[in-house]
Amino acid sequence: MTRLWSASRLTYLALILSAALSIFPIYWMFVVASRTSDAMGQVPPPLTPGGNLGANIARLFDNTDAYFLTGLINSTIVAVTVTVSVVFFSTLAGFAFAKLRFGGRNALLLAIVATMMVPTQLGVIPLYLLMTKLNWNDRLPAVIVPALVTGFGVFMMRQYAGQAVSTELIEAARMDGCNTARIYWNVVLPALRPAAAVLGLLTFMTTWNDFLWPYAVLNDPENPTVQLSLRALSDGYYQDMSQVFTGTAIATLPLLLVFVVFGRQIIGGIMEGAVKA
């Protein structure tokens, strides 16, 4: 029994190989970002960081094709706003679906689950027309507002609230004279905190990473998100690869930092979601 589940040397070897393949492209991104562009033509390719990172960063932020600093600021605004909103509305709706009684509850929940099945592409064109009407084209609300709620978030919070919040606790709070809003704020939200944190992390990463919709709606090169700055960089005619890679590294860094700090919760969230799905 124990022998069956023990990890052999071969297991570790295979894992080391998998981990190396996973990490190498990211590592190499940082290597090139810290060297001069000559690194690209060298044989064999250099595998250790160089000392040119500062100069590359300076060149990147001076590049008037990429508006990289604007991109970073915009992406931060978008990702933080969307994350706060998704977590707030998802916990609110998730609590209602899991713990409150009201007519049409099951049908409405089913409608939310159905929204998770629809590909985003399907709505891109009318959404673009809608943004033109609202005069939001090329402006951040165009990216922020359609992302303020997600069916996934509501469903995830509903699943979690079902088991994490005890009905007795809610009844007790009601006896003590709490109205539903107070119950949400003082009883439910604290109980949902672990799952809300995971949802927040996933939402932040997805939003920061989003490319398709910003690419469609933000056409003003002076007002990009950071991913659009990367597109401008890589589509440029010059092949200053160390500068491009500095851009990709900086755009990836916030995601990696979030992952290093909260990796355990993110993994837990993914694995839990998989079993529940």
Binding site: A7, T11, L100, V124, V145, T180, F211, A216, Q227, I267
Partner: protein
């Protein structure tokens, strides 16, 4: 509830005729209607920015809808019939399906294998899990740029490595099949670890005494894997296949960033790696701005996803017993 010990009927409480106070009425209103208040934001926002665009896409697809034109004449299903006769559209469909197949199959097999490794008694468990998941938490656009360089013809590291085993330089962007392989590699790199964690979660739910008795019956590790693990994982495999189908057929960022320059949305000079979503973009936005045609492509893409997902489910059903475990959860 108090237990009544004597035989007399319980005394009925005196009927109350007092009218409900303001507080009671308020709290009744609260319990009855406030739930709708809590779910309203979702339905309002989703209605305006999710459901309405969906229906409107179909409406737009029935029109000759040019961004610059003042009139949008109704043309019925003309966009669809034109699309079905459009060789560039079918070219993008074949590209999308090709990339989907050569990425999903190895990806899910590798994920199963990786999950099986991670399911052993490991030192530094969390570290291994993080290491295989890290590709999934990177920026897709950024990593696609990095892979485009790794797959470069002249100075790309992949060609440099292939040279060592005697394979001459491949022009990854100019050869259609090679471009599929390169893009599939990016997709696999990003999603294998994620799927492995999903499989791992399901594997950990399998009772270990099943393996114990199989082991007593003389079944080796490989036999146990195929006869116990894989069948019990089937609901999760179905789940992963459907998620991969939805994601894989919508592929956009990777192929778009793999190609650079002014015509990158075409996926290379001869549309070597143009996916359906890229073709939709090319028609709906720059350079053509034909919203009607683009909307028709969007709907056909949706149909394609539904068809492929259905085929996948049917194929998986055939592989063995029903997926009961998931239903019971």
């Amino acid at each position: 509830m108090a237990v009544q010990l004597d035989a007399r009927p319980p005394v009925a409480p005196a009927p109350r005729h007092t009218r409900p106070t303001r507080g009671v009425r308020l709290s009744r209103f609260d319990t009855k209607y406030s739930p709708y208040l809590y779910i309203a934001p979702f339905f309002l926002l989703f209605g305006v920015f999710g459901a309405y665009p969906l229906a409107y896409t179909f409406w737009v697809s029935l029109h000759d809808w040019d961004l610059l034109g003042a009139e949008h004449p109704f043309i019925g299903l003309d966009n669809y019939s034109q699309l079905l006769a459009d060789p560039d559209f079918w070219h993008s469909v074949v590209n999308t399906l090709g990339i989907f197949v050569i990425s999903t199959v190895p990806q899910l097999l590798a994920a199963l294998w990786l999950a099986n490794l991670l399911n052993r008694q490991l030192r530094a468990r969390t570290t291994w899990r993080m290491a295989v998941l890290v590709p999934n938490v990177t920026s897709t656009a950024a990593v696609a740029i990095v892979f485009a360089v790794l797959f470069g013809r002249e100075f790309g590291m992949i060609n440099w490595l292939l040279d060592h085993v005697g394979i001459s330089a491949i022009d990854w962007k100019a050869n259609r099949f090679a471009a599929w392989v390169a893009i599939s590699t990016m997709v696999d790199w990003r999603w294998t670890g994620y799927n492995a964690l999903i499989f791992l979660a399901a594997m950990q739910a399998i009772p270990r005494d099943l393996y114990e008795s199989a082991s007593i019956d003389g079944a080796g590790r490989a036999r146990q894997f195929w006869s116990i693990t894989v069948p019990l994982l089937k609901p999760t495999i179905v789940f992963a296949v459907i998620i991969s189908t939805i994601g894989g057929l919508q592929l956009f960022t990777e192929p778009r960033m793999f190609n650079s320059g002014t015509n990158a949305i075409r996926g290379g000079p001869l549309r070597e790696s143009q996916t359906v979503t890229m073709y939709m973009f090319e028609n709906a936005f720059a350079p053509h701005y034909n919203f009607g045609y683009g909307s028709a492509i969007a709907w056909l893409l949706f149909a394609l996803i539904a068809v492929v997902a259905a085929i996948n489910v049917l194929l998986l059903r055939r592989l063995g017993g029903g997926a009961r475990k998931e239903v019971s959860r």
